[in-house]
Amino acid sequence: MRDFLLGLAFAIGGGVVIAVAQTYPTMPSLQYGPSLFPSLIGGGMLIGGALLALSQVRVLAARRHAPEDPGLSRYDYRGLALSLVPCALIVFYILAAETLGAGLCMLLSMWLLMLMRGAKWWLALGVALVVSLIVTLLFSRYLLIPLPEGVLLPQSLAWIG
C-alpha cells in the first residue's frame, strides 16, 4: 500500500517538475535549453512512479481475496509520531534560536530527547548542559561560526561567545 502511494507521489511530482520546467526560457542559439534535464528527470519520476504504483495495484488486487494483512491495519502511528519529534525540535530551533540563543535551544532539545527515552532527568540535564556549552564554545569561539546568541540571557551567556 505504501509503495503504491509513494509511486503515485513520484508520478505526480514528476508531472509537476515537467510542468515547471516548461516555464524556463529557451535560447534560440542552443538546441537544448535549461528545461531539458529537469524535463527528463521529471519524465523519469513520472514513468518510474507510475510503474511502482502499477506493480502494487497487482499485489493489492491479489491480496483482496486473501485475509487482511495484520501489518497494514496495525500501523505504528505512535512510532511515526515519535520519530517526527526531532524534526519538530529543528523547527523549534530555527524559530526560537534568535530569541533564546543557540545554546539554550540545544540544551532544551537535548534534554527533551534524552527524557523521551527514559534517561534520569538530572543526568540528562547535566549531559545536555555540558554538551551545549562545549558545542557553543567550539563553534562560536574556535570555528567563529556566528551561532545566534539570543536576547533573553545576553549577560549570563556572554562569556561563551
Binding site: 509513494l6 517538475v17 526560457p25 528527470i41 518510474g48 526531532p86 524534526c87 525540535l89 537535548m110 563553534f139
Partner: protein, 502 residues
C-alpha cells in the same frame, strides 16, 4: 623526489598527525555505535574540516572512514548488531564466534584483515591512479558525459533490492542537482525565490539530513534499547592471528582485490564489497558447511574487502572526479573547496599534495593497528554508551553542522526536508546511494552534455565519434541491457537443460 619529501613533510607534522589520531578515535566511536555509519561520521566531520588545511582535512576523512569501517565489527561481534552496514555481511559469524568465547580473537583477525585490506587498496590507488590519469588527460566532455552516466547506471544496477526504487532514488538526487542558476542560460531553476538556493543545494546539509537526521528519526521511532553484553572471555587479541593468517592468506588477498574493484565502481561501497566477498569466500571454501556456525574464514574475506573498498573508491574519485561510494562523494566536495580539484590534472599540478594524500592513506591504515588494539581491549565502553544519551548529542551536531557551512538557516531547512524525504524513502526500502550519486554527478552529467552539444552543434551522434567515448557509450548501453540479456539467457538455458533430462 623533492615533491615526494614535501608531501611527506605535509603529513609528518604534529598538527596532521594529531588530526589523524583524533579523527581515528572519532571514527572508532561512531563506527562502534550501531546505527551510525561511516558515511555519517564523515558527513558530521566535514563542517570541522572547513577550518583545516587541505592535507589534515583529507587525513581526517581518510582516518575516520577507515577506522569506522573496522569499528563496525565491534558491536557486531559482541551484540550481533553491525556498527556500520559494511559489517552486516559477516555479523552472524563473528557473533557466534564471540559466543564461543573467541570475541577478542575474532576482532583481532578483523583488525588485521582491515589493515591489510586498507593497505592493499592504497597500493592499488598509488600505482593505478597516476597511469589511469594519463589516459584520462585525453578525455573531453564526451567521455565525461559517458563516465557520469556509467556511474549513475552502476548505482542502479548494483543496488541491493528493487532497481525501480534505486532509479526513483536517483531521480531525487538528480532533481536536487538541477536547483540553482542554469550554467548555460543563467535562468534560476527550482529556487522558489530563495536567494540562498541560487548557487544550488549545498550537499553537506543534504548528507547530514540523509544519513544522520534520518537515523535519528528511525531511532526515536523504534523502541529497542535493550542490550546485553555477554561475559568477556579471557581470549587473546593476536595469539591465534599468525596461524589464522597463514591458513587464510589467499582469502585476504582475494577479498582485498575484490573489495578494491567493487569500491572503485560508482555506487557500490564497502557494504556491497563485504557481501560479495563473503558470498565468494563461501562458494570457494573447502569447509562450506562451517559457514554460519561461527567460522573465522567467513570473516577474513569480507573484513578485508570492506576496508579495501574504502581505498578503492578513491581511484575514480581522484582520477575522474566520479565518486566510488558515498564517502568519496563527500570527499569530492571537500577537495573542490580545498582547491584540489579532482580529475587527471591533480596528478600533474598537485605534486606534493598527491604524495601527501597517498602518505595519509598509509599512515591512517597503519595507525589502525595500535588504536584498533586498544579499542578491542576497551570495547565495553563503546557498547555500553547508551544511545539514548548519544542520539541527542548527534542531533545537536546535525543542526550546528548544517548551519556552519554557510552560516545560513536555509541549510538547516534543507537538512530537515531532505531528512524527512530520506526517512520516508529509507523506511520503504529505497537505497540512498543512488540519490547521493545523482546529486554529485548530476551537474557533471548536464554540463558535459551541454558543452558537448555546443561543440558538435547539437549532433547527438558526436557522442560515438571518438573511440574512447564510443567504447564508454557501448558499455553504458550494455549495462542497461544486461538484466534483459541475463533473463533471455536463462530462458534459453532452461528449456535446454529440461530437454537434457527427458
Amino acid at each position: 623526489m623533492e615533491t615526494f619529501v614535501q608531501g611527506l613533510a605535509m603529513v609528518f607534522n604534529a598538527q596532521t598527525l594529531l588530526v589523524i589520531v583524533a579523527a581515528a578515535v572519532f571514527g572508532l566511536f561512531v563506527g562502534a555505535i550501531p546505527g551510525l555509519t561511516a558515511t555519517m561520521a564523515v558527513a558530521l566531520l566535514v563542517p570541522i574540516t572547513f577550518y583545516m588545511d587541505a592535507t589534515p582535512a583529507i587525513a581526517a576523512i581518510v582516518a575516520t572512514s577507515a577506522m569506522a569501517i573496522f569499528a563496525g565489527d565491534i558491536p557486531g561481534t559482541y551484540l550481533n548488531i553491525p556498527g556500520t552496514p559494511a559489517s552486516a555481511a559477516y555479523v552472524g559469524e563473528s557473533y557466534r564466534l564471540a559466543r564461543q568465547g573467541r570475541a577478542r580473537e575474532t576482532l583481532g583477525t578483523n583488525l588485521l584483515c582491515s589493515v591489510f585490506g586498507g593497505l592493499f587498496g592504497t597500493l592499488v590507488l598509488v600505482f593505478v591512479s597516476p597511469s589511469l590519469a594519463e589516459v584520462a588527460l585525453n578525455f573531453s566532455s564526451f567521455e565525461y558525459f559517458w563516465l557520469a552516466l556509467l556511474g549513475l547506471s552502476c548505482s542502479i544496477f548494483i543496488a541491493i533490492g528493487s532497481r525501480l526504487k534505486a532509479f526513483l532514488s536517483l531521480t531525487v538526487g538528480l532533481l536536487l542537482s538541477t536547483v540553482g542558476l542554469d550554467m548555460m542560460s543563467g535562468a534560476p531553476r527550482f529556487t522558489f525565490g530563495v536567494p540562498d538556493l541560487m548557487a544550488g543545494v549545498n550537499f553537506i546539509p543534504v548528507m547530514i539530513g540523509m544519513f544522520a537526521l534520518n537515523e535519528i528519526m528511525l531511532f526515536y521511532g523504534s523502541r529497542n534499547e535493550a542490550r546485553s553484553v555477554p561475559a568477556m572471555a579471557k581470549d587473546s587479541v593476536f595469539r591465534q592471528a599468525p596461524a589464522t593468517l597463514r591458513r587464510y592468506w589467499r582469502n585476504m588477498l582475494r577479498g582485498s582485490a575484490l573489495g578494491t574493484l567493487i569500491g572503485a565502481l560508482p555506487g557500490a561501497g564497502a557494504d556491497i564489497a563485504a557481501w560479495i566477498a563473503y558470498a565468494l569466500g563461501k562458494s570457494r571454501s573447502q569447509e562450506k558447511e562451517k559457514y554460519g556456525t561461527g567460522h573465522i574464514e567467513g570473516i577474513v574475506d569480507a573484513s578485508s574487502a570492506n576496508n579495501s573498498g574504502i581505498s578503492g573508491a578513491w581511484v575514480p574519485a581522484l582520477v575522474f572526479g566520479i565518486p566510488g561510494d558515498t564517502i568519496t562523494a563527500i570527499v569530492i566536495g571537500v577537495l573542490y573547496m580545498k582547491g584540489m580539484n579532482p580529475g587527471p590534472t591533480i596528478f600533474m599540478n598537485g605534486g606534493s599534495q598527491v604524495y601527501a594524500l597517498f602518505t595519509v592513506f598509509f599512515v591512517a591504515n597503519l595507525m589502525m593497528l595500535p588504536l584498533g588494539y586498544l579499542a578491542i581491549r576497551a570495547s565495553k565502553i563503546f557498547i555500553l554508551t547508551p544511545r539514548k544519551m548519544l542520539m541527542p548529542v548527534i542531533f545537536t551536531f546535525c543542526i550546528v553542522g548544517a548551519f556552519a557551512i554557510n552560516n545560513s538557516v536555509t541549510d538547516i531547512w534543507i537538512m530537515l526536508v531532505i531528512g524527512l524525504v530520506a526517512f520516508v524513502l529509507a523506511r520503504n526500502d529505497f537505497p540512498m546511494a543512488p540519490a547521493i550519486l545523482g546529486l554529485v554527478l548530476g551537474g557533471t552529467l548536464e554540463n558535459s552534455f551541454m558543452s558537448s552539444m555546443l561543440k558538435s552543434g547539437g549532433n547527438l551522434f558526436a557522442f560515438f565519434e571518438r573511440p574512447i567515448s564510443a567504447a564508454l557509450g557501448a558499455l553504458v548501453i550494455l549495462i542497461w541491457l544486461l538484466p534483459t540479456l541475463i533473463k533471455q539467457f536463462r530462458r534459453l538455458r532452461r528449456p535446454a537443460s529440461a530437454g537434457e533430462k527427458t
